[in-house]
């Protein structure tokens, strides 16, 4: 059963490679992000993609957030984050390819813990994408409470896209 408005966002551990402004070309050390610890007291926009470097995610979904992350922060978002089941090195590299710097936190849910807790994980094996893939969705989380849920009903980007989320902030 998928997460819905009013639910408390799950407490899980994600991993990421932080952006290092002094050494932007470096491949830094992965860090853990405990969602409740980091999201508590904050307004968070979290969007999820099935796969880094895949066509829809790369051409239609991510660019909107790259363009509008600043506007989201002006409207009160403290954190804009992207999560996928790719590992933290892949997420870091994908973020670099858009020069996101620290505008968007690139998070990894490689074990599918968050996806399972949200009820938004799919099996991509039929397309040889492996058994753990996140659905395409976006959430707005306010002090750990989910206040917007946009789960894509079909291929493409609509309710989980940056313009839809910006309108809800």
């Amino acid at each position: 059963m998928a997460i819905k408005i009013g639910d408390i966002f799950p407490d899980t551990v994600l991993t990421y490679v932080p952006y290092d402004a002094k050494n932007p070309e470096a491949c830094g050390l992965p860090q853990q992000l405990k969602t409740h610890e980091v999201f508590r007291g904050k307004k968070v926009v979290l969007f999820a993609v099935p796969g880094a470097f895949t066509p829809t995610c790369s051409e239609e979904h991510m660019p909107g957030y790259v363009r509008l992350a600043g506007d989201m922060k002006s409207k009160g978002a403290d954190i804009v984050a992207c999560v996928a089941s790719n590992d933290q090195f892949v997420m870091h590299a994908w973020g670099k390819s858009y020069s996101v710097k620290d505008d968007i936190l690139m998070l990894s849910d490689a074990n599918g813990e968050l996806g399972s807790a949200l009820g938004l994980v799919n099996d991509g094996s039929a397309r040889r994408m492996g058994p753990i893939r996140l659905a395409r969705f976006a959430l707005i989380i306010d002090d750990l409470k989910v206040i917007y849920v946009g789960i894509e009903p079909a291929p493409g980007v609509s309710v989980s896209g940056a313009p839809a989320v910006l309108a809800k902030l």
């Binding site: 991993t15 491949c27 992965p30 796969g51 880094a52 470097f53 895949t54 066509p55 790369s58 089941s85 790719n86 590992d87 933290q88 090195f89 892949v90 870091h92 590299a93 994908w94 390819s97 990894s108 490689a110 074990n111 991509g124 094996s125 040889r128 994408m129 492996g130 058994p131 753990i132």
Partner: protein
């Protein structure tokens, strides 16, 4: 049970996005690679890595293979394939970053079929890389038979699986 020298290399389906010299930044349609069909009658160097874009793989393991691809081919290698537990889109993007062009075929084993069939899969959940990854290895496969197999005792390092070691094994 892990694969060893003398074994027939297992038949599995991997997936890859072919390099297109005319459009090196395009993301063309993925293709299936059936190891039995693709390796039949050929000498293949198969490099297994834990993770695309990860430091050791990106800096220490793959670049020497790119640099020595011609030397490997001069010693009779028909095909160099790099495979990991990442998916084929990620492998294609990584190949672009590593500038492999058409020297190394970058294949994805996201379903873990190759890892399971060879016994060379490794659980890297604790490192945040997922439960079914490939350990670091290099195999020389001659007409479908494993002629050489080097498995890194510590997958975070590159010693026995390095390009120079593979060259001397040919």
């Amino acid at each position: 049970m892990t694969i060893k020298v003398g074994d027939e290399f297992p038949e599995v389906q991997l997936k890859y996005v072919p390099y297109d010299a005319a459009a090196p930044n395009a993301c063309k349609g993925p293709q299936l690679l059936d190891t039995k069909k693709a390796f039949s009658g050929k000498k293949v160097v198969l490099i297994g890595v834990p993770g695309a874009f990860s430091p050791t793989c990106s800096v220490q393991h793959i670049p020497p293979y790119v640099a020595k691809a011609d030397e490997l081919k001069a010693k009779g290698v028909d095909l160099i394939v790099c495979v990991s537990g990442n998916d084929f889109f990620v492998m294609e993007a990584w190949g672009k970053q590593e500038k492999v062009a058409n020297k190394i075929l970058m294949a994805g084993d996201a379903n873990g079929d190759l890892g399971r069939a060879t016994g060379l899969s490794i659980d890297l959940s604790n490192a945040g890389l997922g439960a079914v990854r490939l350990t670091r290895f290099v195999a020389i496969i001659d007409n479908g038979k494993v002629a050489h197999l080097a498995v890194e005792p510590d997958p975070t390092e590159v010693t026995v699986t390095g390009a120079d070691k593979t060259l001397s094994a040919l």
